[in-house]
Assembly symmetry: C2
Homo-oligomer: 327 residues x 2
């Protein structure tokens, strides 16, 4: 069990520093910050709940802290923005102790440095199960902001990095026996990389007509960027980017090579659309940032998500219906 | 159990409206809002966790939604600011159903109107127990912001309204048998009134040297506004404002008339300090806003909280030590 007073003392000690834009940090009724006057303020919140999003035996406290920050700032990156400040609301159960708290705080401290954000406030409470709820405040120029809803029919669909690694990494972690040699995949689950630099670059060059970070799987997130205007998408299965490691390991879990890549969540890669004539600019960004970017299909006027296999047939017919909260 | 898709649909339906300052509301990776360029942005977060902060049998879903919004905007009011936007992160357990969701959303909708704030985003997830985590964004002029830390020795200490009602109301609710005739006290617990107008007025007239909303009890919150400069406070027990209803009912629970008033939490009254020469201005505000404001003591250089009884003796010697998360 964690003592609230010593927790607060530790937090004030570890996070107390003056920083650009922070008029008043942790320790008052509210924090007070300054944003650039000509920018929009971006705000987003994300949770990680014990035994829903993570099990404590498979992730270290430091990794957990880093992950919840990473997936939260990822949402700001997917708007083309720059994350600035964070509020952390944490519910501790009776099972966390001072050592856990120390490691969790260390994870926060290093992830704040990694993502160049500052912790400005939060809340500690008791809870039956551990939860972490992160609010990120960021900023973006009004004319550079990239929404989910800007795609038009004919736009090409791109995705960064590789898909399915995180979901496969989780399976390996859960299996518990075949970890060796699969550190890459496990790390893709435990230490996701939000594509902040890429999101920002696409926004600054105004290359993306719509953008989202893939948190719930390619198909679901494709729907999210096409549903607004009753558009759809046609993607080529063999174009879906999968890593060498995924490719080698997936056989141990499934005969279906691609299913996890198109449905597994938590990749935090960027999915975005772009007019056909900007293809070359996107290749250049890919080269400059050294991030793989793959064209996987295009936006259609037909309001369905079609996945086309190597024989030109439609596969993985979209299943709609009940979705229980899993994110 | 609540279906995520229908929950999101209901939320977008009920909260979808264009509003001043909201460039992009619910439904994208992040919300985008505009603040006045010459103001500081205030940010604060607060949680309500089932069986820690509330039990579902004693509060309705609509009251719960209103309460978590009320106590969150209260923090912005205690800075002298104006709340503007809200993000709500909710963890639903398997025990909440569609009816619960409908009532919760109704409670949110009406409380947003009551407090003139707008819901711009949030997150839904599963949880073992229901939790609601609210982030409020507000704004304040840099030179009007009232911190916890501005008090100096000799400043008078004021408190709004009456204390102990909420804690006593909770006891009545928990007792379950003596509810009748005590609606005032129960409502003070279930429907707290954040002192937004008062906080704002004190800030605009620059009357408060420090301010906090009383969430954890007078003594603890007195410490919070004096600890920064190693100051203390001397308060008169008989000056502590208690309501007629509290006064009549407390006997049923305790022989000690004042203990709950100085230690019970969740009053959300404002506790603030002011230079002696501004006393008359404060009386005027009290009259204009029709809010009782009571002078209860003064700030001292001695770094302790002294409570003086009717015989001039020190009473309720402050007990420091382990504080488990209860807020």
């Amino acid at each position: 069990m964690i003592d609230e007073l010593s927790a607060l003392r530790l937090i004030e000690e570890r996070f107390h520093k003056a920083s650009k834009g922070v008029e008043l940090g942790i320790g008052d009724d509210a924090a007070a910050v300054v944003f650039d006057a000509d920018k929009l303020v971006l705000a987003t919140t994300d949770s990680q709940v014990e035994d829903i999003h993570f099990v404590k035996s498979l992730i270290s406290p430091a990794e957990l802290a880093r992950k919840v920050v990473a997936i939260s700032v990822s949402d700001v990156g997917a708007m083309g923005g720059v994350p600035r400040f964070i509020l952390a609301s944490i519910g501790f159960s009776e099972r966390e102790d001072e050592e856990f708290l120390e490691e969790l705080i260390s994870g926060f401290v290093s992830s704040l440095e990694e993502f160049k954000v500052e912790l400005i406030g939060g809340n500690l409470s008791s809870s039956n199960k551990l939860f972490l709820d992160i609010t990120v405040l960021g900023e973006v120029e009004p004319d550079l902001m990239v929404k989910r809803s800007g795609a038009t029919s004919g736009d090409l669909i791109f995705v960064s990095g590789s898909l399915g690694d995180s979901a496969l990494g989780l399976k390996i972690l859960q299996d518990g026996e075949i970890g060796d040699g699969n550190e890459f995949l496990m790390n893709r689950h435990l230490r996701p990389s939000p594509r902040l630099a890429l999101g920002r670059e696409l926004a600054q060059k105004q290359l993306a007509t719509s953008m989202i970070d893939i948190s719930d799987g390619l198909i679901i997130d494709l729907e999210r960027i096409t549903v607004h205007k009753e558009l759809g998408a046609r993607i080529e299965l063999l174009q879906i980017p999968i890593s060498k490691e995924y490719s080698e390991c997936i056989r141990q879990f499934s005969d279906d090579k691609y299913e996890l890549a198109i449905s597994g969540g938590e990749d935090y890669e960027l999915l975005f659309t772009s007019p056909e004539e900007r293809q070359r600019d996107i290749q250049e960004i890919s080269k400059n940032l050294n991030i793989k970017i793959t064209e996987i299909g295009y936006v259609t006027e037909d309001a369905t998500i079609q996945v086309i296999n190597k024989n030109g047939e439609e596969t993985y017919l979209k299943q709609r219906g009940f979705v229980h909260f899993n994110n």
